[in-house]
Point group: C2
C-alpha cells in the first residue's frame, strides 16, 4: 500500500500472459459451458439453463491493507464487498461465498470474531451465504495475513461485459471518485480526522442494485472501478475496441477528495482519475439510454449517476479540460506490479 | 513445513468457531439453495436442477511449500490437484477453476510460465477449464508466494458426505499411505535419492474416477486424506457419530514410506497413520458393498483398495495391532495451527 507503484500495464500484461498460456493448453472441449473467460470482472459459466457468475479476490497484508490502519471488522466487510462489486459490474446477484484465510495464531481469537462480524454483516446486507472455505496458519508469527474470497452469483439474461461498448456511447459513473484514495493519503500521514474519507476507504459499498438496474436498461458495457478511471477506462475501451474522451469538468470528485486537494494543492481531476478502490461502476451506454438514465437513476437508487465522457472511434484516450483543450490521458492509477 | 505442529484439534476448533459465527448471523432465507455447509470437503449448492460442488485451497510459501524444494511445474500441478481431490472425495466431476496468485515480481516471467504449464497439465488431464482469477504482487520482494485455487464441479445424484457412515461399516482406503510424508522427510535431510517419495510428495493424483465409482456403488461416507488417517479418520467418525477401529496390520504403507522406516527405524504404521498429503480416499461402506468393491475395484480403476478397519458404535478411536492388542489412536497428523 505504501509501496504503490503507479504503472498501468504490468498487471494487465501478466493477465494476458496467463490467458495466452491457457489458450495454448486448453482443448476446446474443456471450455464447454464457459461463456466469458479470463479478463472480465467475473468468469461466466453456462450451468444447465442458468448463467453463473464466479469471482475471486485476494487481499494481502502489506499489499492491500495494513493491520495498524484497519480494524478487523472493516477488513471483514471490505474483503466480501470487493467481490460483490465484481458481481455488480456484470449486473448480477450474489448467492454464496467461500472464505479462505491465512492467519498467525494470535489472530484466531477475538480478531477473527471481529473479522467474521464485518464479513457476515456485508453478507447479510447483500443476501450472500458463507458456505465454506479453507483456514491456514501464516508463514510467520507476524503474518502476513492473507484473505481470499470467492463469490458465486446468478444473472437473469446476459451479463454486461467490458467489451460491448461502441463509438458514440456515453460514459457514465455511479457515485463519486477519489474518496477511498483521500482516505489512504490521510492514513499515510497518520491523519484520522476525515471520517468520510476513512469510510470510503474501509467500507466500500458494492453497487449491486445499481448494476442490476443498468443491465436491465440495456447499457452496452460495464466494469467496477477498482484501480481508478485512468487505469480502468483503458481496459473497457480496449475490450470494446474503442478510444475514449473524458470531460474533466464533469468528473464527480468525492467531497473528501476535494478537501484533500484543497489542503495539499493537488489537482482534483488528476486525483480523482487515479483514485483506486472506489468500487463505483463505469458504464458505456447508447446516448438515448444514457440520457433517460441520467434523468431517473438517482431517484430510483439513491445513487448519483454522472456523464463523464464518450467512447470514440479509434484507440486514443483523451482528456478534455474545462477550456476545451485536449491532452492524452496520463498513465495513472493503481497497478499490482 | 519444517515447523509442522502436530496438534489435532486447533484447525478443527477454528472451523467450528467460524461455523458458529455463521450460524448466529445468517438468516435462514440466505441459505436457500445450500445443501451442505461448512465442514465437508466441498460446499454443495443446489443450482436449478443441478448440484454444484465448490471448493477452495490456499497454498502458502513457508507453510505448504518451500521454493528451494519444489519447482514451479510441480507446484502448478499440485495446487490444482489438491482441489480436484476434494471434488473426488464427494464423488463429483470438476468443470472449471479460478487461480489467484500473489507473486514477487521476479517470478512473473519464466517461473510463472512453468507454474502455469504444471497447472494446465493437471487441468487438461482432468478436463477442468481455467477461466479466471486474480493476480497480485507479494508483500515483499522475497515473497511469500501465495496460491489460491477454487474449483467448481458437478455431480450426478447426491454427493458422498463425511457424515453418512454407520457402525459396522468397513473402512477402506485407495492407494497407499505415507508416500508424501516420506518425500517430505527426505527433503528435510536434503536427500533427493528416492524418486517415488518425491513424486508422491510433489505430484499427487486426484482420485476422481475412483470417487465417482465409489459414489455410484453407494458407499456411505467419504473424504480425502490430506492430513493423515490419524487426523482425518476422527473427522469422518465424528461427522458420522461413530467410533472407529483400525487394523494396523492391514494399512497399505507406501513403498517409499517402508524404505524410509527401514532406514530410520521408525514404526511404519505410525508413520503411515500420520502421513499428510497422500490425497487418497477414505471410505465407509456397508460390509457387502465393501466386499464386492474389494473384489472388483482395482481391476476397474487400476488403483488398489484396502480394508483398514471398521466404524463402531460409540466414540472411541482404537488401533488393533497384529497381536490383537487394542490401544487408543494416538494424536498424530498435520494441523495448520
Amino acid at each position: 500500500m505504501e509501496n504503490r507503484d503507479w504503472k498501468l500495464d504490468a498487471e494487465y500484461a501478466l493477465i494476458e500472459r496467463i490467458a495466452r498460456a491457457v489458450q495454448a493448453m486448453t482443448p476446446p472441449s474443456a471450455e464447454a459451458g464457459v461463456v466469458t473467460s479470463i479478463g472480465d470482472d467475473t468468469a461466466v459459466l453456462r450451468w444447465g439453463n442458468h448463467l453463473l457468475l464466479w469471482t475471486v479476490d485476494m487481499l494481502i497484508e502489506g499489499v492491500h491493507f495494513r493491520l495498524d490502519w484497519t480494524d478487523a471488522h472493516a477488513l471483514g466487510w471490505k474483503s466480501l464487498a470487493v467481490n460483490l462489486s465484481d458481481i455488480a459490474a456484470m449486473g448480477g446477484t450474489p448467492r454464496a461465498a467461500l472464505l479462505t484465510i491465512s492467519l498467525p495464531p494470535e489472530r484466531t481469537g477475538d480478531w477473527l470474531d471481529e473479522f467474521l462480524k464485518g464479513f457476515l454483516e456485508c453478507a447479510h446486507a447483500y443476501s450472500t451465504a458463507l458456505i465454506g472455505g479453507d483456514t491456514n496458519r501464516a508463514p510467520c508469527a507476524d503474518g502476513p495475513t492473507v484473505i481470499d474470497v470467492s463469490v458465486l452469483g446468478i444473472i437473469e439474461g446476459l451479463p454486461v461485459l467490458r467489451q460491448g461498448g461502441r463509438p458514440g456511447d456515453w460514459l457514465l459513473v455511479t457515485g463519486s471518485l477519489g474518496g477511498s484514495r483521500a482516505g489512504l493519503m490521510r492514513l499515510l500521514q497518520n491523519d484520522r480526522s476525515d471520517v468520510d474519507a476513512l469510510k470510503a476507504h474501509f467500507m466500500p459499498v458494492p453497487r449491486l442494485r445499481e448494476g442490476q438496474l443498468l443491465r436491465q436498461r440495456g447499457v452496452h458495457a460495464m466494469m467496477d472501478i477498482s484501480d481508478g478511471v485512468a487505469s480502468d477506462l483503458p481496459k473497457l475501451a480496449h475490450a470494446s475496441r474503442c478510444g475514449a474522451q473524458v470531460l474533466c469538468a464533469q468528473l464527480p470528485v468525492h467531497p473528501a477528495a476535494l478537501r484533500w486537494c484543497m489542503e495539499t494543492g493537488e489537482d482534483p481531476v488528476r486525483f480523482a482519475l487515479a483514485g483506486g478502490e472506489d468500487y463505483e461502476l463505469l458504464i458505456a451506454a447508447p446516448p438515448e439510454t444514457a440520457q433517460s438514465l441520467l434523468a431517473e437513476f438517482s431517484m430510483q437508487t439513491g445513487t448519483p449517476l454522472t456523464h463523464i465522457g464518450y467512447l470514440t472511434a479509434g484507440e486514443e484516450l483523451i482528456l478534455q479540460d474545462e477550456q476545451g483543450n485536449l491532452t492524452e490521458m496520463p498513465t495513472l492509477g493503481w497497478s499490482h506490479f
